[in-house]
């Protein structure tokens, strides 16, 4: 069947930025291979000079899974997420790019769902959302949930982004689309993730969502102090005016 052949020509480059993920990188690679058995993919580890020996583990993984399936493309030090994606893409041979975190908050078992959603809808971007039925979060206290929900309502009211989870970073992009958007994004941190998806929405790219569950591995860390909230509001204002 023509459609089937076309789909089999797809290759997925999974970019995993790492910093001190010595244990998690092995786990996540195992899970990716477990859940993507009949898929043509490669894992690109962009390690920012982890002092804990993450890269040594990746080399061991390459012996198990093959150097053609696991690419180690390190950088000398922490240089930011956006540039990590750009660096990863330079070495990506797939026509689709998946970005995900290395700490197992993003579970590889959702990868087949991302892929099939894209194939069904021919979407340019498939983004994971934690905030709809079928998705969810574990490990957040009430305060964290409150700020997340408040931030989301603000963003929905003022930005009309077209997606339910703006700060999520578990996404599948058509490679050409990612290259296009990333070149115009300048923010850092989670505002960067927001900027990417909002710019994509403004440019008219077809975006679909898949519910995902998110297990926060860093229990009890309330990373949301006053300064985080200020950063968020500044980011929101920036996006409001420039997108």
């Amino acid at each position: 069947m023509d459609g089937l052949n076309k789909n089999q020509a797809n290759k997925y480059s999974i970019i995993v930025p790492t910093y001190n993920e010595r244990l998690n990188i092995g786990l996540i690679v195992y899970l990716i291979f477990k859940h993507l058995k009949d898929v043509d993919f490669e894992v690109i580890v962009v390690d920012d000079g982890s002092p804990d020996g993450t890269q040594d583990i990746v080399i061991q993984l390459q012996k198990v899974y093959g150097e053609d399936r696991i690419l180690l493309r390190p950088r000398p030090k922490k240089l930011g997420l956006g540039t990590a994606y750009i660096h990863g893409m330079k070495h990506a041979s797939g026509n689709f790019v998946v970005i995900m975190d290395a700490d197992l908050s993003h579970h590889p078992k959702y990868l087949p769902r991302f892929i099939s959603k894209q194939m069904e809808t021919r979407a340019d971007i498939v983004t994971g959302t934690r905030y709809v039925k079928g998705g969810g979060v574990h490990g957040w206290n009430l305060m964290r949930k409150l700020t997340s929900r408040g931030a989301n309502v603000l963003a929905q009211t003022f930005l009309w982004p077209g997606v339910s989870d703006l700060t999520g970073s578990f996404r599948l992009y058509r490679k050409s689309v990612l290259e296009d958007i990333i070149s115009c994004c300048v923010s850092k941190g989670y505002v960067f993730q927001m900027e990417m998806i909002v710019r994509a929405s403004r440019k008219g790219y077809h975006i679909e969502e898949v519910p995902i569950t998110f297990v926060d591995r860093v229990f009890g860390s309330s990373k949301l102090g006053g300064s985080e909230i200020v950063e968020y509001l500044k980011g929101l204002a920036y996006l409001l005016v420039t997108t």
Partner: protein, 89 residues
């Protein structure tokens, strides 16, 4: 068109409507002057309501933490057998 332009146009349209209501006397003047206040307050209330509703219905997944632990054990076993160091230090 930039998003801010869309929002601005919306504000202009609403303002024009408000001025129109002021000019004609469809609604008593005293009420009309307060319309913007009513509008902002209801927007605020709606926002708070959305936050509250969302908070109540916040999807959680406690079982996922357990499943993840199982996956971790499985992964460690597999990797250890194949010579990958699975210690965390």
């Amino acid at each position: 068109m930039k998003h801010i332009v869309k929002i601005f146009s919306l504000v202009v349209a609403i303002t024009a409507l408000w001025i129109g209501l002021l000019q004609s006397s469809v609604i008593p003047r005293s009420h009309t002057w307060l319309l913007p206040v009513y509008f902002v307050v209801s927007l605020g209330c709606y926002g708070l309501l959305m936050v509250g509703v969302g908070l109540m219905n916040f999807p959680t997944c406690p079982q996922e933490a357990l499943l993840l632990q199982k996956d971790i054990v499985e992964a460690k076993e597999y990797l250890k057998q194949r010579g990958v160091d699975v210690s965390s230090s």
